[in-house]
C-alpha cells in the first residue's frame, strides 16, 4: 500500500487508543448501573452536559483539572435526578432516560449559546509520555504517549473488574441486579445500591463527555458526543456486562472511528456522510450478533417494591 506508511498507521492506532477512553468511561459506568438493575438511557445527555461543563470550567478556570472535576459534579447531579425518577418514583426507565437525554441536550445547547456563543479553543490535557515505555519503537508512541484520562480509563477496566467480582459492594450490586428480593431479605438496601450505581455511572458518563472537549477536541461544538453515549450502552450489551468484554468492544469501535476520520484526512474519495454512518451500522451489527448469547442482570429494568405480590 503506497502512501500509507508506518507513521500514518501509528497515528491511526494512537488515535484509536485515545478515542477508546470516552467509550470505556461511559460504558463501565453504565455497566455498574445495569448490573444493579437499572437502565440509564440518559448517558448521551449526561455526556453532553459533561462535555460542555468540562469545556466551560476549563475556559474560565484555566485548568483542565477543574473542568474535569466540574464534569464529575454535573454527572453526579444528573445521576441523582435519574435515580429519584427511576428508583424512587419507579418510572419506566426507557422513557425517563430519553427525558434525561433531551434535558442534557437542550441545557448544554442553551448554556453554550448564552455563555460562549462561538467556537472557542481551550488548553486541554497534554499527553504525558511514560519514561522508558514511550521509547519502545512503534508501541511506545501508540500506547504510552497519551493524556492522563486515557491511562485512567484503561486502568479503570481491571479496577472495575476487581470491584465487581472481589468486593462486598460489587457482590451487593450483582445481587441487587439479579435477585433484589433475596438481597433485600439479607439486609442489602436495594434502593441505596441503585442510587449509588446511578450516581457513580453518571459521574463516569460526565467524565466521558469532558474527555471529548478537554482531552480530545480542545473545544466544544453542538452534538460533539455524536451518539457515543448510546453506543456506550450498546457496548455494555456487546461486552456482556463484563469490564474486559467492554474494553474489547470499546477498542473495536474507537479503531473504526479513528480509521473513519483518517479516510477524510487522507482525502480518499468517499462520501463523507457514508463514512460517518459506519460506527452506527457497526453498533447495530454488534447488537445483532450478540443474539442468542445475551445474558443480562435478571432484574434489569424492573423497579423494586418491597412486599409486592407476584
Amino acid at each position: 500500500m503506497e502512501g500509507i506508511n508506518s507513521e500514518i498507521i501509528i497515528v491511526i492506532l494512537a488515535t484509536g487508543i485515545r478515542l477508546a477512553a470516552p467509550f470505556l468511561l461511559a460504558a463501565l459506568g453504565e455497566m455498574f448501573t445495569q448490573r444493579s438493575g437499572v437502565y440509564n438511557l440518559g448517558v448521551e445527555g449526561i455526556m453532553m452536559m459533561g462535555a460542555f461543563v468540562g469545556f466551560f470550567i476549563t475556559l474560565i478556570g484555566g485548568s483542565p483539572l477543574l473542568g474535569i472535576a466540574a464534569s464529575l459534579v454535573v454527572g453526579a447531579l444528573m445521576g441523582l435526578l435519574m435515580a429519584v425518577v427511576s428508583v424512587t418514583f419507579k418510572a419506566e426507565q426507557g422513557i425517563s432516560g430519553i427525558g434525561l437525554y433531551m434535558l442534557g441536550w437542550g441545557l448544554s445547547g442553551l448554556l453554550f449559546r448564552l455563555y460562549v456563543g462561538a467556537i472557542t479553543t481551550i488548553d486541554g490535557l497534554k499527553p504525558v509520555a511514560i519514561p522508558l515505555l514511550s521509547d519502545i519503537p512503534f508501541l511506545g508512541p501508540i500506547l504510552f504517549n497519551q493524556n492522563g484520562l486515557v491511562y485512567s480509563a484503561f486502568l479503570l477496566v481491571p479496577i472495575s473488574a476487581f470491584i465487581l467480582y472481589k468486593t462486598t459492594w460489587g457482590l451487593n450490586v450483582r445481587a441487587v441486579g439479579t435477585m433484589p428480593e433475596a438481597a433485600d431479605t439479607l439486609g442489602v438496601s436495594v434502593q441505596g445500591i441503585r442510587y449509588q450505581c446511578l450516581i457513580v455511572g453518571s459521574m463516569l458518563a460526565g467524565l466521558a463527555g469532558a474527555f471529548l472537549t478537554v482531552g480530545h477536541a480542545n473545544m466544544y461544538a453542538d452534538n460533539i458526543t455524536a451518539g457515543r453515549g448510546f453506543i456506550s450502552i450498546a457496548l455494555v450489551y456487546f461486552g456482556r456486562w463484563s469490564p474486559w468484554g467492554i474494553m474489547l468492544g470499546a477498542l473495536l469501535f474507537s479503531m473504526a472511528d479513528s480509521f473513519q476520520s483518517m479516510v477524510q484526512v487522507l482525502g480518499i474519495n468517499f462520501p463523507y456522510e457514508l463514512a460517518v454512518v459506519l460506527p452506527y451500522v457497526i453498533t447495530i451489527f454488534a447488537l445483532a450478533i450478540s443474539f442468542g448469547r445475551v445474558w443480562g442482570p435478571a432484574a434489569l429494568g424492573k423497579p423494586f417494591q418491597r412486599g409486592t405480590r407476584g
Binding site: F89, A91, I95, L100, W105, G109, R113, A234, E273
Partner: protein, 367 residues
C-alpha cells in the same frame, strides 16, 4: 361516570403541574443565564396566542407533532419504546420529495397519492427495520432506533447535497442543500389564505380518530395492546407476538413518514436541511403528555406546537436561545413519567409520605 370524569380531571391537573414544574425549573436556568424569566416567558407563552399568525403557526407545528405522536402511541402501546420517529420522518420526507421531483410530469391527481404513498412507505420501511431487528435478532429497539436516526440523517444529508440536489442550486453555484421544488399541483391547500396553515391539519385530525378506533375498536388493535401489556400472556393466548411487533413499528414509521411528507407538501414544498426540526422527539413528549391516547394527544400537540413556536419567538424577541425548549421538554418527560407513580396507585403517595414524614400507610381499598 362521575369517577371517570374525576379521574380525567386528576390526570389533567397532574400533567399541568408537571408542565408548570418544568417551566419553573426552566425559569431557574434563565435566572442563572442572567436573562429576565418573566419577560422571556411572557413572550413565549403569549406570543403564540396573540394573533392570527401565532395561532395558525401553532397549528402548523402541531400537525407533525400529532402525526409523529400517533405513531409513538401505536408503538408504545405495543410495548415498543420507539425513539426513531426523527429518522422515520426524514425517510418519509426524502421518499416523498424524490418521487415528487422525479415524476413531476405526471398529472397531480396521480402524483399526489403516489407521493403520499412513497413518504409513508419510506417511513414504514425505516421503522420496520427496527421491528425486524427486535423480533429476529433481539436487538434492543431503543438502541437500534437511535442508531437508525443517525444513519437516516446522514443518508438524508448525502441525498440532498448530492444526487437529489436542486439542479438550479448547482447551476447558480449557490449549492444550498435542498431538493428542487415539488410541482405546485401537489402542494397542500392553504386553509386560511395568507397563512401557512394547510390541509395536513385535517388529515392529522382524521388519522387521530382512526387511530383511536383502530386501537380500541378492532381486534388487531386489541391484540397490539395485549402484546404491549404482556408479551408472554399474549403469546399464551395464541397471538403471534413477533408479527404484531413488526406491524406496530411499520405503522409507527408510516405515521412519522407521513409527518415528513406533510412537511414537504404542506410547508416547505421541497426537502431541505433540518426539516425534521426535532419533531421526532417533541412528538414523543406530546404523546406522553396525551397519556398515549390519540384523542388526548390532539390538545397535547397543539400545546407543544405553541411551546415550540413560543420558544422561537422568545429567541427573536429577548435573545434566549430556542434550545431552552428542548431542556423544558426533557423535564416534562421526567416529571410526567415520575407522576405515573401517583396516578397508577394512590397508595404509593401514602408510602412516600410514610417514609419521609413518618406517617402510617393508609391502605383502605388500595390496588
Amino acid at each position: 361516570m362521575n369517577t371517570q370524569y374525576r379521574n380525567i380531571i386528576k390526570q389533567i391537573t397532574i400533567l399541568l403541574a408537571a408542565l408548570v414544574g418544568a417551566l419553573l425549573v426552566g425559569g431557574i436556568f434563565l435566572v442563572l443565564a442572567k436573562s429576565d424569566p418573566v419577560k422571556a416567558y411572557t413572550v413565549m407563552l403569549t406570543g403564540p396566542i396573540n394573533d392570527k399568525f401565532g395561532i395558525t403557526e401553532t397549528l402548523v407545528r402541531s400537525v407533525p407533532l400529532l402525526l409523529v405522536g400517533l405513531g409513538i402511541i401505536i408503538s408504545f402501546r405495543s410495548g415498543i419504546i420507539n425513539i426513531g420517529a426523527e429518522g422515520q420522518m426524514l425517510a418519509g420526507a426524502i421518499g416523498a420529495a424524490a418521487v415528487a421531483t422525479s415524476f413531476s410530469e405526471l398529472p397531480s391527481m396521480i402524483l399526489m397519492p403516489l407521493v403520499f404513498l412513497a413518504g409513508m412507505a419510506s417511513g414504514a420501511f425505516w421503522g420496520g427495520i427496527a421491528g425486524w431487528l427486535k423480533t429476529r435478532l433481539s436487538v434492543n429497539e431503543i438502541l437500534s432506533t437511535v442508531m437508525l436516526n443517525q444513519i437516516a440523517l446522514q443518508l438524508y444529508l448525502f441525498l440532498i447535497r448530492g444526487p437529489l440536489i436542486d439542479p438550479k442550486e448547482v447551476s447558480y453555484g449557490t449549492g444550498a442543500p435542498q431538493t428542487a421544488l415539488i410541482p405546485e399541483g401537489i402542494w397542500l391547500d392553504r386553509l386560511i389564505p395568507g397563512t401557512r396553515l394547510h390541509s395536513g391539519l385535517i388529515l392529522a385530525l382524521v388519522l387521530a380518530i382512526l387511530t383511536y378506533l383502530f386501537l380500541w375498536r378492532t381486534s388487531t388493535g386489541y391484540r397490539l395492546r395485549a402484546v404491549g401489556e404482556g408479551p408472554e400472556a399474549a403469546r399464551y393466548a395464541g397471538i403471534k407476538v413477533e408479527r404484531y411487533v413488526i406491524l406496530a413499528m411499520v405503522m409507527a414509521g408510516g405515521m412519522a413518514g407521513l409527518a415528513g411528507t406533510v412537511e414537504v407538501t404542506g410547508v416547505h414544498h421541497r426537502a431541505l436541511e433540518g426539516i425534521s426540526a426535532g419533531y421526532g422527539f417533541s412528538g414523543i413528549v406530546a404523546a406522553l403528555f396525551g397519556r398515549l391516547h390519540p384523542l388526548g394527544t390532539i390538545p397535547a400537540s397543539i400545546l407543544f406546537g405553541a411551546l415550540l413556536l413560543g420558544a422561537d419567538m422568545m429567541q427573536r424577541a429577548v435573545d434566549v436561545p430556542a434550545a431552552m425548549v428542548m431542556a423544558i421538554q426533557g423535564l416534562v418527560v421526567l416529571f410526567v413519567v415520575a407522576s405515573d407513580y401517583f396516578l397508577m396507585k394512590p397508595v404509593n403517595g401514602a408510602r412516600l409520605k410514610e417514609k419521609w414524614l413518618g406517617k402510617k400507610i393508609v391502605t383502605e381499598g388500595g390496588e
